[in-house]
């Protein structure tokens, strides 16, 4: 290859990358990934199911009790069968989607917000503030999270709000860790020094120059974290410290099924299957986002 063709190719490459923004390139990489797209489609379907739960569910999930049908097996009219009290299991599972997505998204939102703010403060300030925050992060990461959630839920009294708040406020450590490390390394770069030299204020440097650079990894980590949070919520409800009966949640229905596991195994089967599908969808989406937003991470 001669020098002139190489430079021509380079110019073409440069102009091509210039008019494609970083995000549209990421979208191109993402949409080529079928598994990730599949995950996204499943999540959208679940979201529709949660929004239109009253229209989609054939029966009332709480009030419509079928007499004499306790633990009844699946039939055509009741494809998931009946729960331990004779309610339609399909309707309860459909309504359970609301809890799973609500807790998954809101708790992740709280955790990401706290993590970004705390991590940015630690990474940017350095000094004793950083040392203190780092030890708190270590502590949270080192502690069996279920134990912490169980204690907090018992103290605050189990409810939907408690579940969201408790999972959100204990889950920020891993986000803070990533943000802190990234900001520490970005702080030493020339563009930050330049911004400082012309007198840009600290909070503006963090907001305009540093945070946009850490958003990629945070989006990936948040998406991958949602699955884990949905499992945590179900575990809490399963232990009786999450969503209170008679409100339908997957973990709660699983707990109902546990008591009758050898007599009516289908009660525990279906909500668990929904948890697995949802968690897989979020994990596939997260993996796809990682490959698209952070090509260095690919193996």
């Amino acid at each position: 290859m001669t020098d002139s063709t190489t430079s021509a190719a380079n110019t073409q490459l440069i102009s091509e990358t210039a008019h494609r923004s970083e995000w549209s390139q990421a979208w191109r990489r993402f949409s080529a990934n079928r598994i990730a797209l599949g995950g996204l489609v499943v999540i959208l379907l679940l979201a529709l199911m949660a929004i239109f739960a009253p229209l989609l569910s054939p029966y009332d999930p709480i009030d419509e009790v079928f007499r004499g049908m306790r633990g009844g097996s699946p039939t055509l009219a009741h494809p998931f069968g009946y729960d331990h009290l004779g309610r339609d299991l399909l309707s309860r599972v459909i309504f359970g989607t609301r809890v799973a997505l609500l807790v998954g998204l809101l708790a992740t939102g709280i955790a990401v917000t706290l993590g970004v703010v705390i991590g940015a403060i630690a990474g940017y300030s350095g000094s004793w503030i950083d040392t203190l925050i780092s030890r708190v992060i270590d502590t949270l990461m080192a502690f069996p999270i279920i134990a912490l959630l169980v204690v907090l839920a018992a103290v605050l009294g189990p409810s939907l709000v408690t579940t969201i708040v408790v999972i959100g406020t204990t889950g920020w450590a891993r986000f803070a860790r990533v943000v802190r490390a990234d900001i520490m390394s970005l702080k030493a770069t020339d563009f930050v020094t330049a911004a400082r030299a012309v007198g840009v204020r600290d909070w503006r440097i963090i907001w305009r120059h540093l945070l946009p650079n850490v958003m990629g990894p945070i989006i990936v980590l948040a998406t991958l974290g949602i699955g884990g949070i949905i499992i945590l919520e179900s575990a809490l409800s399963f232990l009786g410290l999450g969503i209170r009966p008679p409100n339908p949640s997957w973990g709660g229905t699983l707990a109902d099924g546990r008591a009758y596991i050898l007599r009516f195994p289908h009660i525990a089967f279906f909500p668990g299957l929904m948890i697995v599908i949802t968690v897989l969808a979020f994990n596939f989406l997260g993996d796809g986002l990682r490959d698209a937003l952070d090509p260095r991470e690919r193996d």
Partner: protein
């Protein structure tokens, strides 16, 4: 090396102190006075003098910070107090009875998980994009997404309902009991559940670190000087690829204990996890707060040990 150890121990102590303070504060935030709990929902009437005597004995009449130091000092001496609900039984005894059960459960499943994950990860890494590689990828993806309590219930259904119906008694193990620990067979299902998740995570880590190591110059050199594949793998690649696995185990000890809490509850196994959830529901806060600190110490000690092992295996850590 000595400064490294000293620094890590100091960090561990700070974490334990933070957790003890946190636990103490959270437990005090709970509605009601522990003395009312002792009396069982306040139904038994006692005189004011008796109440004061109880409060004085527990130091509840003193300022909060003094109470903390009394509690912490007692913990340090190994005095966890008595259970509030199971009267007269020292908390220490309850914890010591539960620790071996949880220990056997988790050590067995971790060992099994490593036994499968290390070779599977190496093969998947070496034969990248092979059928085996895709197979382990699917397996570990599922393993991470399965909630352990659901897996536990499905295994109970499988082994208590269907296996006896289809196959009768199994060879070697006979009939597997769905709940409890009356015989050693009771360990089978919980160990299976705990192994699944660890195996999934560790296989992924082992595969990734094998891939990483195989691109290193010293591996290429080893091939270039004509060493057979097996020798290069065993002597050069795998030894280094194992390092991240050690870190991940240390890092995962908190997850492992979380899993134990749920799994022991499902299978009705009298370990630390079950003691924990039972005590929460029985409002036995004396047990709960002691267990929280015990768990924290356990996690910190295991983390410290893995870090030190790491520093011994890998001299690069010591220098930095």
């Amino acid at each position: 090396m000595l400064t490294y150890i000293a620094r890590r121990i100091l960090q561990g102590v700070v974490v334990i102190v933070l957790i003890s303070v946190g636990t103490f504060v959270v437990i005090r935030l709970m509605p009601g006075d522990p003395t009312y709990l002792l009396l069982g929902e306040g139904e038994i009437r006692i005189s004011k003098e008796q109440m004061e005597a109880i409060r004085a004995r527990w130091g509840l009449d003193r300022p909060q910070h003094e109470q903390f130091f009394i509690w912490a000092w007692n913990l340090l001496r190994g005095d966890f107090g008595d259970s509030l609900i199971r009267k007269g039984i020292p908390v220490r005894q309850m914890i010591f009875e539960a620790i071996p059960v949880t220990g056997i459960l988790n050590v067995t499943s971790l060992a099994l998980a490593l036994l499968v994950a290390i070779p599977a990860g190496i093969i998947a890494g070496v034969r990248r994009n092979s059928t085996f590689d895709y197979g382990t990828a699917v397996g570990s993806t599922l393993g991470v997404a399965l909630p352990n309590f659901w897996l536990a219930l499905m295994l109970i259904v499988l082994f208590a309902l269907y296996v006896p119906r289809w196959f009768g008694d199994l060879p070697l193990v006979g009939r597997i009991p769905p709940f409890g620990l009356k015989s050693w067979q009771g360990y089978i299902l919980p160990v299976l559940v705990l192994t699944t998740e660890q195996m999934a995570v560790l296989t992924r880590v082992m595969r990734a670190s094998t891939l990483e190591v195989l691109t290193q110059d010293y591996v290429r050199t080893a091939y270039a000087k004509g060493l057979p594949n097996v020798i290069v793998l065993v002597r050069h690649a795998v030894r280094n690829a194992l390092l991240p696995v050690v870190t991940v185990i240390g890092f995962r000890i908190a997850f492992i204990l979380s899993g134990t809490i749920v799994v022991e509850t499902v299978f009705a196994i009298p370990g630390i996890g079950r003691l924990f959830t039972d005590s929460i529901f029985r409002l036995d806060y004396q047990v709960v707060q002691s267990l929280v600190v015990v768990l924290a110490v356990l996690v910190v000690v295991v983390n410290l040990l893995t870090d030190l092992t790491y520093a011994i295996i890998d001299p690069r850590i010591r220098i930095n």
